[in-house]
Amino acid sequence: MNAPMLPRKLRIATTSLSGCFGCHMSFLDIDERLIELAGLVEFDRSPITDIKHCSQRCDVALIEGGVCNAENVHVLRELRANAKTLVALGACAVNGGLPAQRNHLDVGRCLSQVYRTPDGTAAAIPNDPELPLLLDKVYPINEIVRVDYFLPGCPPSGDTIWKFLTDLLTGRTPRIEHPLLKFD
C-alpha cells in the first residue's frame, strides 16, 4: 500500500503491413538504448513479442509499411482502434514507398504477368480464400486511417526513431529536423 508509485509503463504495439521489416530492423538499431526503452515501455502486439492481437488498449502504435491488401486494412484498423497515438513509421507507411511502384500498373495484368503458366494462361494466379485480396493500389496509411505522427525515411535511422520516441515518451511534441529528417 505504501510502496512508491512507479510511473506506468507505456504500451507500444508495432506491425509491418506492406513493408520489408527494414523499419523494425532500424528500430533495433537503437542498440543498447533498447534496455533504457525497456524500462519505459512494454510491448503489446508486435513481431518482437509475437502477440497476434492487441491484448489491451495501447498508448502508441508504430506502423511500418503501406496498405496493399485487405488484411493490411484489417490490421491497420485494429491498431487504430486500440492505440491512442498511431505513428506512420518509414517511407512506405508515409507515401506507399517501394510497393507503390506497382500503382501505375493494372493489378490483374500484374498478377497474370507474375503467375501465368508457360502456355500463357493465368490459371496459376493464387486464389485460396485464405489469401488476402490485393487492393487496386498500394496506399499510404493516412489514406485509410487517421495518423497522429509521421516518421519518414527508408528506413528512418535508429537515431531518428530514438529521438522521436524519447520526445513522445517525455511528453514533448516530437520534432524531426536536419540531419535526422531523411526521405531515403
Binding site: 507515401n95 514507398g97 517501394l98 511502384q101 501505375h104 509521421f150 527508408c154 536536419h178
Partner: protein, 250 residues
Amino acid sequence: MSEANNANTFSIDGQRIAFEPGQTILQAALAAGVYIPHLCHHPDLKPHGSCKLCTVVVNGRNGSACTQKAMPGLEVENNSPALNDRRRVLLQMLFVEGNHFCPGCEKSGNCQLQALAYDLEMLTPHFRHAFPVRQVDTSHPDVWLDRNRCVMCELCVRASRDLDGKNVFMLAGRGADSKIVVNSPSGLLGDSELAPDDRAAQVCPVGAILPKRVGYAVPIGQRQFDAQPISRQVDYLAGRHLADAETEVR
C-alpha cells in the same frame, strides 16, 4: 540614416537589404545572403513565378519574390510560421501530384524539392496521392527523362530556349494533364537535339532529367544538401559557388 542610403534598400523581416535597380526581391535577397525558399528560380534564367514557394508578403500583400521587383522602402515578410506553413502545403501538393519516391531516386540528396521539404520539416505529403501514370523516356543515349518526378517548373524549357538556343522542351496540356513534351519528330528525347552538356540537361532541380551512367557515383550522405540544409546554402542557390570555382581555376 540619410535619404541617399535608403534610396536603394528595402527590408526583409526587418533586415535592411541593398539592391541594384532592376533586381527582383529574390535576386536582391540571395545577393545579400538572405534565404527565401524557391524551386522554379535559377540565377541564370528569367523569372517564371510558377512554383509560388517564394511567396512573401510585400507591404501587406502576397507576391512572388522571384517576379516582384525590389523597390525602395518595401517591407517584406519572409521567414514567418504562417508563410512557411503555406509553403509546406505547396510542397505537399507537389509531392502528391507526381510520383516522388526518394528511396529509389538517383537525385536524392541533390534534389531541391526534397531539400525544401526537409528544411520546412514536411513529414508527410498529407493529401491523397494522385499516383499519376506518366511516361519515362530513355531513348536518349546520355540523358533520361522521368516525367514521374517532374514539377513543371519549366527550367529545362527556359534553359533550352534561352541558354542553349535549341527549344528541346515545352510544357503541353493543361492542369492535371500538363506534361513536358520533347521537340522531335517522334516526340522522343533520343531524336531531339539535346546534348548531354546542354544546360537544359543539367538544370532540372528534381530527378526528372538525369544523366545516364552517373547514378550513385557520389554516395548518399555526401551530396549537396546532406551536410547543410538548403536554407544555409544561399551561395549555392545564387550560383556563387560556380563563380568561386571559376576564379580558383584562373
